[in-house]
Symmetry: C2
Subunit: 255 residues, 2 copies
């Protein structure tokens, strides 16, 4: 029963997703009761009523940036990015965004409750692209991560910055520890300094904006992925900065 149920839900969401590939068609929902050969009616408790993906409408990047920057100071990076995109979608679309608890995404901060892994702004981008762009979201997230690792950040200039900063830095990595560590070294500041906080708030605005640029292009049918997933280049899940941890003695991948 467990297998049949989980398979049913997965298949149903896949089916919805295929129909949902037309942007804005996310309103097609699986009914509470689904008739399938040999199984009859599935109860409401068992069947998925999950729309997937949620409908996306093009957003204004200036507004998104402003919310992300301000909201970093409330609940940090992951919340900053998710809220900066999902709050405008609450206004433009309403449900199901209105019922989604933005605070549930706060855990991504500092690379997952401070463990320095995936930059929380990118976790936020993952959550948002997962909800709004369905299976295409993975290609969008991949492009956001490549852009993040390869761009001197932060770029965003808040109208009323909470601290003055002078440095921008290319991280070569989506890891919080590496990204913020390199920037702190360049700026010569401590982690709990006002400058570091402002850098992360501005960077969250940058990631939110870049994610929305890709999502807006996708909504127009103009998003074209330009990178493969790195997994296929290395024979293992990986970043692109092998020598930073491995030195010149990079192990041969077991493909």
């Amino acid at each position: 029963m467990v297998e049949k149920l989980t398979e049913k839900i997965s298949d149903e969401e896949k089916k919805i997703s295929r129909r949902g590939l037309l942007v804005g068609a996310g309103k097609v929902a699986a009914g509470a009761a689904i008739v399938t050969a040999g199984m009859g009616l599935v109860s409401t408790a068992e069947a998925s009523k999950a729309k997937f993906p949620w409908p996306y409408k093009k957003l204004d990047i200036d507004k998104v940036a402003k919310i992300a920057y301000e909201n970093w100071f409330k609940n940090f990076c992951c919340y900053a990015v998710t809220s900066s995109i999902l709050i405008p979608l609450r206004e433009k679309v309403g449900e199901p965004y209105t019922s989604f608890p933005l605070m549930s995404t706060k855990w991504g901060h500092g690379g997952a409750v401070g463990w320095g892994t995936l930059c929380g702004s990118l976790t936020g981008a993952g959550i948002v692209t997962g909800l709004c762009a369905g299976h295409d979201g993975e290609n969008i997230l991949n492009e956001v991560i490549y852009w993040y690792a390869d761009t001197a950040l932060p770029m965003y200039k808040p109208a009323n910055p909470k601290a003055r900063i002078k440095s921008v830095n290319k991280s070569d990595s989506p890891l919080c520890h590496i990204s913020v560590g390199k920037w702190m070294k360049k700026e010569g500041v401590k982690f709990f300094s006002p400058q570091r906080k402002d850098r992360c708030a501005r960077l969250s605005a940058d990631v939110a904006v870049q994610t929305v640029k890709f999502l807006n292009a996708w909504a127009d049918g103009k998003f074209k992925p330009t990178h493969k997933f790195p997994l296929f280049g290395y024979g293992i899940t990986a970043q692109e900065n092998c020598t930073e941890c491995h030195g010149s003695d990079v192990p041969q991948p077991l493909r």
Copy 2:
């Protein structure tokens, strides 16, 4: 207006969370219309109707493990963990779990679409604890990550394994690349081998079970965090395995 709105939503979710600290009290919802001094009625489009956290009911770990293992082979690690916990909650609680699209969490696989960062099973644990346990979820996730890095995995023995494996390994790290890379080296197998896939499916079951053990204890009022967040030990977001990347020349943290 943007600032006022974002602050209002954040404050409202915090208020709900405080009330929601009594497990099962998650049904307290922010009304569609909220009266506040000086602002009058906030429209439905603007106000958050988000319940936070979502109500949690204790789950059976054997069922969770079985769903996680089986669902890994459908959509990989992050989906495996989220679906293994949220599907039983759909059955026990119903909404809002029923309407949440499980497929939206698939992106976490392979450390975020294959970038090797946070193990997708832990991203799944983050998403679930964020939704179900509110602010306490951060302490639960921190304990899950410490347990993950410090435990020889996988432990789960599927009734009908899809491949035979012989190795278990302690990762010392929540990073997919490091965790799976060490295990592949020990087992002597390639990334795209049936053995590696089975290892990750079993590990997803382990992470789902450990997360549910903590959530069940929390539901009974018996969850006690035993670790601080690593951020406070290093003066930067960090893992505990400094020398693996830095060698013996570990930089002095800028606190």
